[in-house]
Assembly symmetry: C2
Homo-oligomer: 315 residues x 2
Amino acid sequence: MKIGVDAMGGDYAPLHTVLGALLALDRLAPDSKVVLFGNERKIREICRSQQAGADRFEIVSAPQVIEMGEHPVKAFQQKKDSSLVAGFLSLQQGNVDAFAGAGNTGAMLVGAQSLLKTIKGVTRPCISAEFPIQSGGSALLLDVGLNADCRPDNLFEFGVLGSVYARTIMGIEHPRVALLNIGEEPDKGNMLTRETYQLMEGNPFFHFVGNIESSQLFGGTIADVIVTDGFAGNMVIKQAEGMFQLLKDFGFENAFFDRFDYEVYGGTPILGVNAPVVIGHGASTPRAMAHMILKAEATYTAGLVQKIKKAIYNE
Amino acid sequence: MKIGVDAMGGDYAPLHTVLGALLALDRLAPDSKVVLFGNERKIREICRSQQAGADRFEIVSAPQVIEMGEHPVKAFQQKKDSSLVAGFLSLQQGNVDAFAGAGNTGAMLVGAQSLLKTIKGVTRPCISAEFPIQSGGSALLLDVGLNADCRPDNLFEFGVLGSVYARTIMGIEHPRVALLNIGEEPDKGNMLTRETYQLMEGNPFFHFVGNIESSQLFGGTIADVIVTDGFAGNMVIKQAEGMFQLLKDFGFENAFFDRFDYEVYGGTPILGVNAPVVIGHGASTPRAMAHMILKAEATYTAGLVQKIKKAIYNE
């Protein structure tokens, strides 16, 4: 397979992207190939500085760069020669099988929605975050940022998408799906969660186990997949990141808490679009970039997109 | 002053309430008196078991108990002889100066709103949580649970209430007020936060410093008062509680993290009603109950209610 990578995406691009791609090479399947989109001269320079042959990659020259602060829609429409747009076009045309980038998140989303389109039956694509749980393994939270305002049917869809992701990528055979809320009883919460509970209860598309409170997230005893709107979800992961940072400042070393480190996860696929796209963290280190690339490989190899379609069409 | 306490409120009432009241006695001002509402026989028994004279309290017999699971409005209307209703009536009539309880939170709120009424100009009372910050001292988060669905003007009011609370109770002379959001820029967030930002920007009632992300809450460098809706606020404190519990499970001991322990804060005043009411945590230990009672004393002594009125009427 071919994994497209936006070499110019991220706060420390192209240095961290190319170093990450070099790190990833050792761990990718023998028939997986990395295609770097970006400034060819700079990419070759970094390879040379690492005594690594640039021939280990396929390089597609795309001189323009979409910066982090740019307006996503405008930038995507105007910068046709940017690494990000070139990567999406290549994915759309089937020249690469997956695309990963840590650049402007909004522009990544615009690319996914405008060129790849959402899967029929999905109203809103979303992104998810895996986090460690005390009982071992990981749990999944979604949406974590794409949809700040949601309706109950959006959250219902996230339940379907998250359930398929947990089975396909995380290897959880019968994922328990819970609704993030501020109380355990069905009538607790805000208008959104109260209505969503009614919609989810007893549904045949995923195994709904009820409400979960944020104090119970890390225990892992209640749910494998936790559904919420992008505002609350983003809040939860950023608070966990803040706590993780605080613990590091206090010199607390613990294997469990180390797993809160986003570097380990590298990136998150956009769930609900017609091809595998993985979004990385803007501040990604080379190690995080490597994991982002590996995540793109895993997403393609596991057939996530096909499995989501199957779950929605109930084929 | 006289501090009314719902002796029957809380998961381990009346034992923990009476033990907490005994603990508090040593730290209250000499002219502060605790009035216990509840089952007089049981209260006297507990005092006896502690070799403490029940004459250290004033006891008001109120045999009925509003249980944790009861419907707040119905329970408050029907159980006229309950410790909770008796306490609120006593506060309304001026027989006590403040009232504290760790029982049914909904019923506490019904009591506050129906008998004490909200302060003119306040649409929605709210509750707040103090939490430790890395730079020293504490910050304040509100609302943390009373108002799961909010409008921008509600959040604006919380900014006024929180600002007065920080000055009056926390001793922060010029509190910086921030809006909890999922991005720093004014146009980030959901519909609620984007509109609220416009409303708060440049207002003369409190010192608005912009958005704050949940990763920045514990640093303390951005804000002293953080405003959010009751859904997100409750989520944040419960996640912090969950993290605190996780750290305890891992045997991590740290003076900073110990301050996340709700026992230290004991309770939170209902902000925006016409008399001091403090709500405690249902699972309160005697130590937490003692702090709840001390918080009621501090709220009255500092003149919080009067200062909120002054801030709203701009007198």
